[in-house]
Amino acid sequence: MDGHVNASSSSRSGAGADGSGLSGAAERLERPPKRTQQRGNYGSNNQDQTDAAVLAVPSVAVRGSSASRPSRLSGGGGGGGGAGPPPNETEEDQGLKYGAQHVIKLFVPVSLCMLLVVATINSISFYSSTDVYLLYTPFHELSPEPSVKFWNALANSLILMSVVVVMTILLIVLYKKRCYRIIHGWLILSSFMLLFIFTYLYLEELLRAYNVPMDYPTALLFMWNFGVAGMMSIHWQGPLRLQQGYLIFVAALMALVFIKYLPEWTAWAVLAAISIWDLIAVLTPRGPLRILVETAQERNEQIFPALIYSSTVIYTLMGTHYTPQQSAEPAVTSSPSSSNSTTTTRATQNSLASPEAAVASSSSRSGNTRTHPHQNQRDDSNVMAAEGMPLVTFKSNLRGNAEAAGFTQEWSDNLNDRVARRQIEVQSTQSGNAQRSNEYRTVTAPDQAPADVQEERGIKLGLGDFIFYSVLVGKASSYGDWTTTIACFVAILIGLCLTLLLLAVWRKALPALPISITFGLIFCFATSAVVKPFMENLSAKQVFI
């Protein structure tokens, strides 16, 4: 159901971009604030950006969205590219051109995640020593014999990998059967655990490492704020940067958990095994992650909202398309007269239609809108419903108990004014294209479309990739040699670069782990075994090469 709505909305927005580009542009010029709001409003509804089932699905798809929708891509570039070379070529060039930017947009978070892990490993000794073990690794490598350690590691990684495979397949089955609620519940639960329990452990060890005393109420207050903000920004909505920050933090935390609880050889074995699994899962015709990607493309949904770091807001913009559609339908059915009305009467009719729209658009808000039958407020909520901006509807919701929420009456009045003004603006721009005026809400779609086209070339990287990159670098740094850490870091970045290059060439979802992890493992072992003694010799004698 979701998929269907999404598809229709996105195609409609595409048409809007072609047909009424002018009005869209004009609107954009007129109302910059709204753009920003929409951007901030990212991640509404079903677009839960979750993370942490990361636990279960370790790998995953780097996917240029450009690959999936070439037609929209070329449409977006249409301004400049149409002249000389054939469209295919320009498209590819542009893909590459933006590719370089997006490589950096991935480099930065990946580096940050690794930096966080490495800094933690080096400052908090708790995470670099293993004394407790995960349930999945029954063999603890306590024997001094390398052969015993070897088969222990092999057995552990096999067990862990089978758990991962089973979980992945379970996830795919749930996704295929459209059991979104179960998946979301699962993801919310795991991110809840990470954001509260593991963050608490982290905080505790951090304070212990730096010998900082802190009382429980302060710690609880901090944990509560941090965790709730995280849950909100990951699963519901929040500023993009905040969400990205939380995703990076959660990935780093998960990596630390792996580093802490996996025995040493097992960690390396798991890294190798998981990159092979990634290769299989993404590239073989019946690989589960490939099925996942293809199903998501089929349904025209966000790949899988869960385990993915996205460098831009594109899919969340599509998410805001979704809301207006959903809220629009009840409104239209309840007041069919508005569909033919002129722009001057629009306001009142909308206000008539508002209760239904309000109820339809957000169940949480319905009570308040009804108990405060204020004209402006109705308009307000209707506009919000129409434009699909839950952020603002949230505020109007708060206004029901404005004092309690700390908003002054003046502020809310101002809000009403602002909203009313905006509504008028929407209508005035809309009056230009009459055939579209029957559906007030879709006007917002062309408005969003240009932004869309620009942001569309986002590259997505599974959080699992973040985790295992960080595990590799963190494990390397736990031996206390910085050259090994740097070598791993550079190798992983180069591997990521190559993966993205292949992505630009092949234009399909690729596993991001194999190349990077292979490079990383090679450089890690080679550096710690061969390069390190050489460099130590050199720097002890102050010889520079």
């Binding site: 930017q101 740097i486 550079v490 550096t527 061969v530 390069v531 010799n537 102050q542 010889v543 520079f544």
Partner: protein
Amino acid sequence: MTLPEFFGCTFIAFGPPFALFVFTIANDPVRIIILIAAAFFWLLSLLLSSLLWFAMIPLRDVLAFGVFFSVVFQECFRYIIYRILRSTEQGLQAVAEDTRVTDNKHILSYVSGLGFGIISGMFALVNVLADMSGPGTMGLQSGTELFFVTSAAQALSIILLHTFWSVIFFNACDTNNYLHIAYVVGSHLFVSLLTLLNASELYTATLLTNYIITILTGLLAFRVAGGTSRSFKKFVTCQ
């Protein structure tokens, strides 16, 4: 004393390269990627030379041998990265938003040289820096307290030299100027072998010579990149 020393030495060695990175590289994604690629190639060369050093068990204590081959490998990889950059130039033209990268060939050589330099400086210094931050320090019981400062200064000169060398080397390969190529390889060998004297704490000799060579190489690189005394004057007086 340990922590201030740590920060001081870090800033001596990596302050100028960091400034170069921030002001000339960080704004352009293509340059960042080339920088990292160059660092990767330097790592490969180091890996090869360490493998050789590791394999030659009887010669492990003779550092001059390892240094010599390491320099040779580094220059080979500089040539390889030159070939790669030149062969992907057209691709770069398509990718780069900032056309200066391809219009001015010296930018590519500068970026890759800086990549070489930064990674080599890091590898040389990073473990020393880690030791520097405490709890112990040099010069209390044995050794000299100048150890850290001189290491940092040497690392800075090596980082700058790598940058200059790449600019000269790439241009020399473009113009078949074998004299310049010989100069690059020769001065690299000379500088690296000269630092062998550091073991006997002849810091004045090594550091002074190294910095003289650094300045000379910098001047040569400036000339090669098309600078003249007049353009330098114009630059200084902001005309």
